[in-house]
Symmetry: C2
Subunit: 230 residues, 2 copies
DNA sequence: TGTGTCCTACATCTTTGGATTGATAAATTA
DNA sequence: TAATTTATCAATCCAAAGATGTAGGACACA
């Protein structure tokens, strides 16, 4: 299959010169990839990316000088359609999560067999996103954990549920930064009426001012509830 | 391996009686699982879950009456350590994302080969989280897309960067719902100084009041920047 | 040494926000 | 039908917030 396509162009960025050389050899042996560049500097890597527009980048994210994650982010910002695979020595869930969050199309451990690296490259070059099974599992544990609190908040007794429909409208406008006059204008009611509603909201949410009300709303899934609902 | 462990107890919930029967037979053939219950009702399923405390639940999430996702959420809320695998007819990214978000430990398509279902069950029963490769790819596309906007905001010119260190401290306290007095007390400075800082913050963020300042901060990664930084 | 930035502080004034009380009409529910 | 809830509006009062101008001391940098 792969043999019939044009070769994918790959750029390597890894501050460990030895590892860089090793990966380069490995990939060069693999006939379906052209290594168009290899550098130990993240900044240089970004420049090379702009210059050569590779299809793929293998980016070491354990670099001291410039953080590899930051480099990935900058490359993603360029929006050149370059697909980046993160190379890391650690299977740390937080690292994996952050890499995928900023747009890495794959995450491969340096300790993994070379065949697996090539496989990841094939998958990513084919437009897919690739994570080894074990890392996927780690990712999801982290992912679910980060939503646990939010889920708990959304399902637990929520003071927001005591608000009337009108009060929800008013609160919604509050969370958009409106003052009394703005809300009154948007709802076609008098400012004093808005004051009444807002005061009732304060009572129900047990807060003292609009900022606290807005914060309560945002921290307890007010927007979520209406727009993204599970 | 599996042969030596005690059998995992499974509960099946699927409003399609035919499919339910099919899955039940399939699993019964597989000697390492005991089907402790099978029902076409989500509510009944939740009751059975409480009663029998199965290790695993296979939950159809394409049910009209009570949404399967909601049922998963309720089971997760019980916190009984029951691991739920979502069964669905659709490989819709949004569905997959929502299922994983609320704590499903796996997501399997009904059209998949029975061997794959058993494999998923083995993995999940072993404490892992399992998503078929193809669905993982879909999930990540959706996941990365949902962060694209946020990433753009964080990396684009941000008025927050013009704030001084002290102003950031003040803004941080503002985003916790403090008034002038509260901030003054916490920073051991006078209330008038706080007013000065807050006014400077308003100028820099180009907003008119504290609520808008807080909203600007939250919408532009203020907390994120300091606590979760990429 | 001077220039600029930052943190601190105060005075003054205007506007907005918040608390409270009271009242009417419509809709809902018991 | 009576009672309750909701949405509307007003007056009043006090507190808080916001706008503006001024200014001294600390520090960094050229």
């Amino acid at each position: 299959m792969r043999e019939f396509k044009r070769k994918s162009r790959v750029l390597l960025i890894d501050d460990n010169a030895d590892h860089l050389r090793g990966v380069k050899e490995l990939i060069t042996l693999e006939s379906s990839y052209d290594v168009v560049g290899a550098t130990t500097s993240a900044n240089m890597g970004i420049n090379l990316a702009k210059k050569y527009r590779p299809d793929l980048i293998l980016m070491d994210i354990n670099m001291p000088e410039k953080d590899g994650l930051q480099a990935i982010q900058e490359i993603e910002k360029l929006d050149l359609g370059i697909r980046v695979i993160a190379l890391s020595g650690y299977d740390d869930a937080d690292l994996i999560f952050r890499a995928m969050k900023i747009g890495a199309k794959g995450y491969v451990l340096k300790t993994m067999a070379s065949a697996q690296l090539i496989y990841a490259m094939d998958e990513v070059a084919a437009g897919k996103i690739y994570l080894p099974t074990a890392l996927t599992s780690r990712f999801f544990e982290y992912f679910q954990n980060s939503f646990k609190e939010e889920n708990a908040k959304l399902s637990e007794e929520n003071l927001l549920s005591y608000l009337t429909a009108r009060e929800e409208e008013v609160l919604d406008l509050l969370t958009q930064g409106n003052n009394y006059k703005g809300i009154a204008g948007k709802l076609f009611i008098s400012e004093t009426t808005v004051k009444t509603h807002v005061n009732n909201i304060f009572q129900k949410l047990q807060v003292n001012d609009r900022t606290q009300a807005v914060l309560y709303a945002l921290n307890n899934g007010f927007a979520t509830k209406h727009k993204i609902a599970v």
